[in-house]
Symmetry: D2
Subunit: 342 residues, 4 copies
């Protein structure tokens, strides 16, 4: 079928490519015309501006937005909605906050336009592996999009079938799911990313413990300010982390796709010296915690994972200084220099 | 080759079976003779007591212990060591604390006996999938065991090869790894389990947030003791959790084997009504935190995951009562009854 | 000076009493007339309805609301505002979300009414000790209220003066502070309560560790599902917690008012058997975390304290069941019964 | 009475001074003779070496060690014990691990020497305020030391009496407590410090949230890697932190001695620019967590506080790099530079 796609960044462009390869028709638009040209050269129909884009689409139009969350998406939804007709479908495939979906869907519904929110996971690998899609919106609109969704999704593949799934059916085992009414798609994607942060941190903390397992080999100056290691002979291991990550990939309880990627990264650069360790976070992790708190459900692991990212960017600096200031006040403790205590 | 196996529980018996299926010879012993009989009927050579077991093995003997960690393993290592000869290899394949390995290996070395610690992951699925093995001990001993290890390991299978791994080689991509000197195997396995707790908790917290996403539908009595939900309309979702777990299995960033198992469990019993929620922990998670603290490396995610298990068993009860007692003292706050606040 | 007070619960009534004792005039109103009668008998001027209340106040009116946060406060602010005149001052002394203050202040400003938000700490002890007040609003309005604030605040008392404070001055050392524009008062009070949760949890966790320091005396059934204590002889202490809390009150680094209250509670009932351990939370702790996340500042301690309260009310039940379900799937682990593992 | 004191650092010297001021006799020794001379000039009896020290003391000797925990204490206990006689009392007043106390007490008991462990809190303020002391050892030995303990303790002072304490009595309200058998003193002190870390972190996190409450004023470059603040108008506050800390000191629920110190530190240097934020930890915080884990009691708040200190010293660097490496692998995410994201 035909799909209009706006936003031809990393994700958007690959979504178009995956559709083109499977004989769908794509009308594409992007603020920077180079990206439009590039995809036109790969078989897409390029649009030179938003009006051109809207006109080139058959009614009822199906349009997939893949632009940054926040203001860019908000602006585009509103600008575009003004040009659409009743019955058209507008998909937000980005990383929007589900609360914005609820509001936007209501606004568009008044004009007969279907709003569909699709949380899309898969990153740069999606072109080949397919995209896992979590979808919110009306039954009618989601059904209409099914040919597109089927193509973008990974499909059942060679992943073992969940016992009992044959009696239940549904699209979940194809890698896409209509999760509920508007916002449901991005809600599930939000929690997905919250979990992602937690899993990533679990690996990172564990590998960091292995990384420091030779701490007993280091000479430490005795000092009233630092704790000597009681049993240095228990921390004499120089682990080969690329090998450790690799061995866990087969047969272990913690095998996962994130572990596969970790094994690639560690093999390429065991010291990870190309990274500074300033870790970004892109919204969903924060919103997951906000949802947990609104619901009154405890999320200590997911929160700790998020906070570690904040700390990696130095956001705990004032807090740490306060601790040192208090220690100085009650005990006259002077901060140690880096070379001594580490 | 030949292997003696002591301890024919869930894991031990399946290790024997996997070896027998691949034409190794197994001499087996267990305190309860029924299990010996059972495996003898499947092709193993049964031993009636420890002396009989030792005698039936060719020198240099290779013996795999698979008994509960702590006293049972300690007692068996010591009892058995007294009957072994210089050059024999004694493997602890259980969940021992790596610090015990260091001590035991030193004690046995004095008598010329090789001690090898193997952390074994794979659970009840290992018979079919193979076991991921993390190994500590001398080069000589580990090399000698290679035919056994190769058979027990999952092998490369159809898992995608890590980019660059062809130039590096090693056994890691077969699913077993000589990690270092004694204790190294159980150290890596310990951290593996620490990570396992973290990953499990990440899924559990995330799915719990989805589970409560309909909290806006509930009528809550207004009360000075509880916080009303500001925007009930944002929490109106009844998610189908078996489907959500299933959809994440394909193409998403958080696909993993633990997610596969979660999908099975949720499909079978979406309310998990057969479980009470008292979660055990078996040592490695605790030791992981102890190692993190000894090393001075932060492990907030792994700790939170461990503590959640303690709390699930009611170990925070006195702590919670204290909070209520303080609230009563400063504010006259009376505890709410369950029916009101939940 | 004269102050109108609406909401004669625990806090509101004592605020009136403290003002009356210091020769201020109070006009009071409450939905249930009994409370109005009671305070009228103590010297206040009772009002029979809202119109009567407004009429009995001299212009420019100064009115203190002390009603539950959320809808009750919102409704009262809006109902009352309609009856007030330009130049009047409306104080929200309850536990409102500072975001509501910002909005309300803007709405009232359009009509010339000053809105002042006052976070009030002190609980049931405030009548005697005075109230710590954190204030947001315009300079003019806050200055006008100074006679009231001075009376309600604890004053400098016999608390040691902060070194250097004599050169700085200000009302902070009297126990009240104009923190900034609207919302600033409740923002500071919100964080105050967030900190309160953290401090309370620190004592509760520490005392819980002391409470379980005799765990080495208990016989534990060995089991593959539970971790035996390696050194039971290290956990043979039966600590007298009322005495421990008491000794920390003098000369120790952790002396505090919350510790004073803890000592009272523990002396009265060392086992805290009158409490069930279901701990409420009243909004500010949640909002503190939301603010931390919005700002990107890590708050692991304050979050952990909040989540412990959620868990105390059973909100992690589904999460725990999932952990048990995963353990059953990969390892065939059956949950232990309470009597075995605890 | 007479007390021998070894170790004349910050704490040790002030302990001697407090005793001298109250007419006790002190025999003192220190490796560096200058400190001995100094205290001799203040009225103590100086010893030139350990033998001289032992000889100058009346039998049964009472000796207080105040040397760094770990090897220095261990060596001194062992060296000194060889010179003592049956009936002598050896006090470890430092920050020893209670497990070492249990072992040492047993070793000394064989020779008839009483070992007493005293956890001492009070820091540089102890000389004036007195020391809070938590004591482990035999009834006999502790009773014998009572005149010394009474003098060193703060005494009841002007702190309000705990309701009901008059009927219970005991020394706890004098600021010293015999907590139990050997190790009990340092166990209670250990948990005291664990709590101290938690309380300090609670203030630090809360004040950090106030410190960043003006984040809405900052221009942030929009980027796919960072989360824009949804409501910048909610974060426009420039709080005066010295004033905020001050106002909380009177009448608020979170008044405490640590807050008093925080108010001093913030008034002196509101930006805390003399500190780098590398926070040391001195053993007890770590041991508190180890005890919590051994006991199976959850301690998320105390752990988070400890980990924050580790992170402040950069011990999470490899962990953070791993997160960035994974993000790069699955999403092609490039780390942002400091100037953009902060």
């Amino acid at each position: 079928m035909q799909l209009g796609v706006i936003g031809l960044g990393r994700m958007g462009a690959n979504i178009v490519r995956r559709l083109l390869r499977n004989n769908h028709e794509c009308v594409v638009f992007n603020r920077t015309p180079e990206k439009v040209k590039q995809l036109a050269s790969e078989g897409a129909i390029g649009a030179s501006n938003l009006d051109d884009f809207v006109q080139k689409l058959d009614k009822p139009r199906a349009i997939w937005l893949m632009v940054p969350a926040g203001d860019p998406t908000e602006d585009m939804v509103m600008e575009l909605a003004a040009k659409l007709d009743s019955g058209d479908i507008l998909i937000d495939g980005g990383n929007s906050y589900y609360i914005d979906d609820i509001r936007r869907a209501k606004a568009l519904e008044a004009r007969g336009i279907h709003y569909v929110d699709i949380g899309t996971s898969g990153g740069v690998w999606g072109l080949e592996r397919g995209y896992c899609m979590m979808i919110g919106g009306s039954e009618t609109a989601v059904k209409h999009l099914d040919p597109i969704l089927q193509t973008l999704a990974p499909g059942q593949g060679d992943i073992s079938r969940t016992s009992g799934r044959d009696k239940v059916g549904g699209t979940a085992e194809q890698g896409y799911l209509h999760c509920g009414s508007n916002g449901a798609g991005h809600f599930v994607k939000m929690v997905h990313n919250g979990i992602e942060y937690g899993i990533m941190a679990a690996y990172a903390e564990g590998l960091n413990i292995l990384h420091h397992a030779n701490v007993g080999k280091q000479q430490r100056a005795a000092s009233a300010e630092s704790t000597p290691l009681r049993d240095p002979e228990h921390y004499q291991y120089d682990f080969n982390l690329p090998d450790v990550a690799e061995v866990w990939r087969r047969g272990s309880v913690i095998a996962s796709w994130l572990l596969d990627l970790t094994a690639i990264a560690l093999l390429k650069d065991p010291q990870l010296s190309t990274f500074t360790g300033r870790v970004s976070d892109s919204g969903e992790g924060r919103w997951t915690i906000t949802a947990a708190i609104d619901e009154g459900t405890p999320a200590p692991v997911l929160s700790a994972a998020l906070y570690q990212r904040f700390s990696s960017r130095g956001e705990d600096e004032f807090s740490s200084k306060l601790l040192s200031a208090m220690r100085y006040q009650f005990g006259g403790h002077i901060e140690e220099h880096a070379e001594i205590s580490s």
